[in-house]
């Protein structure tokens, strides 16, 4: 019966261990390199995708810009309308109010009354001076004022007869201030 005596057993084990370490190191480095290369490839691919997307977007923008330019006349007209109507809106609001007040005063005035100094203020108030050659016309007007709370759409908030006097040339002269609800 023979028995093998291996004197290099320990050394072989150490060498094998080192060889395995070296193998894992090489494989590890290779994996890192491949991983890095893959990342670079992915990065480049994404860059090219973005570049292609960019040129396609640019082309689409160019086509649509041309389309918009074809409609330049319509666009100019639309901008013109928008600009003018924006300005019109506040004049209209004011004008509508003035118009209603003027109409209301006309409704209140009986025949034979002259009006001067008719002025509309920003608060919705209107002041004017009236003249009547007869007392009955003045009275008819005052009666109208007394019983009026609403003229058309305009609600009367306050009526002030500021003064009444008799003038030999003009007749009965009175000054009125009417405040309408805004």
């Amino acid at each position: 019966m023979t028995k093998d005596i291996n004197l290099l057993k320990e050394k072989v084990a150490i060498l094998r261990k080192e060889a395995r370490k070296a193998f894992f190191l090489q494989v590890g480095l290779l994996v890192i390199l491949i991983g890095y290369c893959l990342t670079v490839v992915v990065l480049f691919s994404y860059y090219f995708i973005l570049k292609r997307q960019s040129s396609s977007l640019e082309e689409e923008i160019r086509v649509n810009t041309n389309k918009v330019e074809e409609f330049q006349t319509v666009e100019t007209q639309q901008v013109y309308l928008k600009n003018k109507i924006e300005s019109l809106s506040d004049v209209f609001a004011d004008q509508k109010h003035h118009q209603k007040i003027t109409e209301a005063v006309f409704t209140l005035l009986p025949e034979g009354i002259s009006v001067s100094g008719f002025n509309i203020d920003d608060k919705g108030g209107v002041s004017f001076q009236g003249e009547s050659d007869t007392f009955s016309r003045l009275r008819a007007f005052l009666d109208n004022l007394k019983t009026t709370y609403k003229i058309g759409e305009m609600k009367v908030e306050r009526i002030d007869i500021e003064r009444i006097f008799f003038d030999y040339e003009k007749g009965y002269v009175f000054k009125v201030y009417l405040l309408f609800e805004v």
Binding site: L29, I32, L50, Q53, Q78, L109
Partner: protein
Amino acid sequence: MAQKVRKSFLIFAVGVIILILSLTVVKPTFEKVLRLSSRNKADKEKLAQLKDKVEKLEAIDKDEIKRRVKLVEEIFPSEKPVLNLVNSLEQLSAEEEVVFGGITLEPGEIKEDLKSGQRREFPISFNIEGKLEKISSFVNSLEKAPPLMKIEEMNLTIKNKGGEGKSQTSELLTSKLGVRVYYQAPPETIGAVDQPLPLLTKEELAILKRLDSYRLFTKVEPTAPTGKENLFSLP
């Protein structure tokens, strides 16, 4: 020992390769990707706006917008509407059966340097003569006649005082009206191509509808020849 050196060299070599590649290739490419990505995002937004604008422009009725522009120009003109104002007042007074006269215009400079988009105005005053109902009707119609006007002052005087027995039909009144006339130069630019199309709001459409109810009169166009005759023109 030699193997240890080899190992260290390998690690060092891989590290150097990665570093060099990172600095020379990966970093610039990554920066380009970031730049392109943000540019594409902006381009996408621009394209969406352009597409939306084209869609809205295509939806606009060309004849209708042309008609609206003509109407607005007549009512709220771009230049001082001196001639057409007198013409409108004359025609309106004839229609409303009142006598028109005594007009005082303060138009100022006729050819002025108008800043676009800025509303301008000038005052006028004039007299009308007629029966109370006709004057009332004239005043009502005035603010629905071109160019855009706003009544600011009004005086009403009985012309032929006839005493109590006199009926309203025979009573003549004179009214002096102080009116403000408005106009506005058109905008100079329409903005960038990718700027959204300004659409009219509900309120603005209502204003346009209101303009349709305006009484339009035949326009006065200056027909008289201007300047000297060209003596060198061929027959």
